[in-house]
């Protein structure tokens, strides 16, 4: 089995090469088939690896020395353990569904662009696989940069639109800021430990001082902030919606943005040893969750709402990591991947039917025209809102329960965020699918359910979004349904599966006993509040009539995203622009150009003056010759030192 490991990233790489190099000659059917089949092949190998890891533990495959200088040896190695095998399944499984969906969604593109799209998508999957399979931080960093690049390429996929290119650049630069932190953390590790291989780092963690651990974890978290769109580096993710919708589903919701979660979960031992960083992560995560949720309340672009909801959910995952609920965070990554991919693909189906209209104020009543999309989207909304027994309930509840044990304030704020999530998701659903159609007659005439290549992924993801939660049923719920003591202990399957990865961290933390009756009561209260919110939202927005009234007060601030983009423009972008203009107009034009042109002008001028000596008068030449010879003679006679000087010179 060990020799199968390299196949997982190899398949998408082959797909990328074929589609990328053959984009001028392949037909669209062939492109779609190659793009999807390679990911399917990876998925099959991933399942085999998953079963292998499940039965006999982690696999470490060393291939060659990637960097080998003096004392530093960084191998090119893959580590497939419980955590990465789970991510492999998510990436290749959801990746395959989205590839399949894309074959229909992107069908309007011409063949070369269609091939370019699939090549990028395959390259993205390849990079993401490197990221989660890498056996050390350097290999992870290669994947980390690779996904950033693919994200840039795919956001700017329709490169003829300047606004999209700007969004792509924004995403890339924001990510680079985070990447710098990651890179510094790697350097710090190499400096202190001389190794970046996970196993060696965690085994030698005793050699690090607490300060070192705090700095390394904080720097790593800066990397995670950029990639996973946390405050204050989140603004790129909503803009990333410029890319095609399946890309938003795959990269900007289900996989790439969870890289930060993966990295922190992978480094869980260091984080457990750095409580200061953990507290910081919890605060940033919660702040992001609430902040993004408030923005989502007032957005009218179907994809923007989902984008802010992604930022908000990522905040929950970081809250989980910050309070030490590593399993909960990974669990939420998994369930979130299911329902957010579903919601994005559903939104894609709506946009497809509406001929690229994304404003929900111009939709409404789509449940009659798009029955499958309607039902699956509703299931996705129920899952993200956390209605039991849908998947979001279990994962979000686990994070919130862990937050409660750490600090009840975190819990209460988290619940407020969850209610806001419910509100904006059902506002989105009701305005899109309920009520009566508010678009043009022409649009209404063209409304149609999407082809099966798009609805099948929706159905599969909807099933996963519904049942995904049962991989991690909390003990109290199992008790409630009369499971035996032993069965209840094993009801949280995911926790048992991931236990080896988090074992070292768990040994360091003291288990706080949970009060099962209060836990049940909290679940009940939250569920009740969620249901009330759903009813309220449904009532308010299902008969939505478009009004032209301007938002006022707080609503206007929220609609404009707290003016954060304007703030960043004012304090960072514009000063940088001004500096660049100064360098360009003043330093470059009069400084550098002046110097270079000055040298040329000087040579020109002096040669023009020297030319005058060449008069063509033979007598003048001879006179000059004689005078020069006389001069040399006089120097020789009068002052030997000058002659010596000339000797030295020539």
């Amino acid at each position: 089995m060990n020799n199968l490991v390299y196949l997982v990233p190899l398949f998408p790489l082959i797909g990328f090469l074929i589609n990328g190099l053959g984009r001028k000659s392949l037909s669209k059917q062939a492109i779609g088939a190659i793009g999807s089949a390679t990911i399917l092949a990876s998925f099959v190998v991933s399942i085999l690896l998953f079963l292998q890891v499940k039965s006999s533990g982690a696999i470490i495959a060393n291939y060659f020395n990637f960097i080998d200088v003096e004392a530093i040896k960084i191998p090119f190695s893959f580590q497939i353990d419980q955590l990465s095998s789970l991510f492999l399944l998510i990436i290749t499984g959801i990746g395959f569904l989205i590839h399949l969906y894309s074959t229909a969604y992107m069908n309007d593109e011409e063949a070369p662009h269609f091939a370019r799209y699939f090549a990028y998508l395959n390259l993205f999957v390849f990079s993401m696989l490197l990221l989660v399979m890498g056996g050390n931080y350097v290999i992870m960093f290669i994947g980390w940069e690779g996904v950033g690049l693919c994200s840039y390429l795919l956001i700017g996929f329709w490169f003829k639109n300047d606004a999209y290119n700007y969004a792509a650049k924004k995403a890339f630069i924001m990510n680079r800021i985070g990447d710098l932190g990651f890179l510094l953390a790697i350097f710090w590790l190499i400096n202190k430990l001389g190794t970046v291989t996970y196993g060696d780092v965690f085994a030698n963690v005793g050699k690090l001082t607490p300060q070192d651990i705090t700095i390394i974890t904080a720097l790593l978290f800066v990397g995670a902030m950029g990639k996973s769109a946390q405050l204050p580096l989140y603004t790129w993710l909503p803009d990333a919606m410029a890319g095609p919708t399946p890309v938003s589903a795959l990269i900007h919701a289900a996989t790439m943005v969870t890289a930060g979660i993966y990295m922190v979960a992978r480094t869980n031992l260091l984080y457990t040893l750095a409580p200061a960083t953990q507290g910081f992560i919890a605060i940033i995560g919660l702040a992001t969750a609430l902040f993004a949720a408030t923005i989502a309340l007032k957005q009218n672009d179907i994809k923007k709402v989902l984008a802010y909801s992604t930022v908000s959910q990522l905040g929950y995952m970081f809250l989980g990591l910050g309070v030490g609920a590593y399993t909960g965070a990974v669990f939420h990554v998994m369930t979130h991947a299911f329902f957010k991919a579903l919601l994005f693909l559903g939104a894609g189906s709506v946009i497809h039917a509406m001929h690229h209209e994304q404003d929900i104020r111009k939709m409404g009543g789509l449940n009659k025209y798009l029955p499958i999309t309607n039902i699956t989207f509703l299931l996705g909304c129920l899952a993200i809102a956390g209605v039991p027994p849908f998947s979001g309930f279990f994962s979000k509840d686990e994070i919130l329960a862990a937050a409660y044990l750490k600090n009840p304030i975190l819990y209460y704020l988290g619940v407020v965020g969850a209610l806001m999530t419910t509100f904006y998701m059902f506002r989105l659903y009701a305005m899109t699918f309920q009520g009566k159609f508010r678009g043009t007659h022409e649009q209404e005439h063209h409304l149609h359910e999407s082809p099966s290549a798009m609805t099948i992924p929706l159905i599969v993801l909807a099933i996963l979004a519904v049942i995904g939660g049962f991989f991690g049923v909390p003990e109290v719920i199992a008790h409630l349904f009369g499971a035996s003591e032993v069965a209840a202990k094993q009801s949280h399957w995911l926790e048992g599966y991931l236990a080896p990865v988090f074992a070292a961290s768990k040994a360091l933390t003291t288990e706080t006993p949970t009060n099962s009756s209060s836990e049940l009561m909290m679940m009940g209260v939250v569920t009740g509040l969620v249901l009330v919110t759903i009813a309220f939202t449904w009532n308010k927005f299902s008969k939505y009539e478009s009004t032209n009234a301007e938002e006022t007060g707080l609503g206007k601030v929220l609609e404009n995203k707290w003016y954060i983009d304007e703030l960043y423009n004012a304090i960072i972008v514009n000063p940088l622009d001004a500096l660049a203009m100064f360098l360009k107009n003043v330093v470059e034009k009069s400084g550098i150009d002046g110097l270079v042109n000055g040298v040329g002008n000087f040579v020109n001028y002096s040669s023009r003056q020297l030319r005058l000596i060449q008069s063509g008068q033979v007598g003048a030449y001879i006179l000059m010759m004689v005078l020069s010879m006389l001069g040399i003679l006089l120097l020789w006679i009068n002052d030997g030192t000058i002659v010596n000087f000339l000797h030295k010179l020539f």
Binding site: Q617, G619, V626
Partner: protein, 111 residues
């Protein structure tokens, strides 16, 4: 005869040559002035050669010191002869083209 007299003579010949080259415009006269300078040099070479020989002869009857100076004079003569033949040919050609031997007509390389 003291060496100084030779030097003074050679110096005056050379200076006449230099001034002639600088001031005259007639190509043939310039030519003659150049010859004058060459011969001033020859005269000096022979004079110094003789001086060294005479000095060396007092200690060694079979000495050959100074012979190279005399040899060099012959070289210069040969070179001067070659130069004269080429130079005069040029002057003849120049006269054919311009009907003049004034070097100021030669200040243009083009045409």
């Amino acid at each position: 005869m003291p060496i100084q007299y030779y030097i003074y003579l050679a110096l005056s010949l050379f200076s006449i040559g230099v001034v002639g080259v600088l001031t005259r415009r007639n190509a043939i006269i310039i030519f003659m002035c150049i010859e004058l300078m060459l011969n001033a040099t020859n005269l000096l070479l022979v004079a110094f050669s003789k001086m060294h020989y005479a000095a060396a002869l007092t200690s060694n009857a079979a000495t050959q010191v100074g012979i190279d100076g005399q040899l060099f004079v012959f070289f210069i003569m040969v070179v001067a002869a070659a130069e004269v033949s080429v130079g005069l040919a040029i002057i003849v050609m120049m006269y054919r083209n311009t009907h003049s031997v004034d070097i100021n007509f030669l200040n243009r390389l083009k045409n």
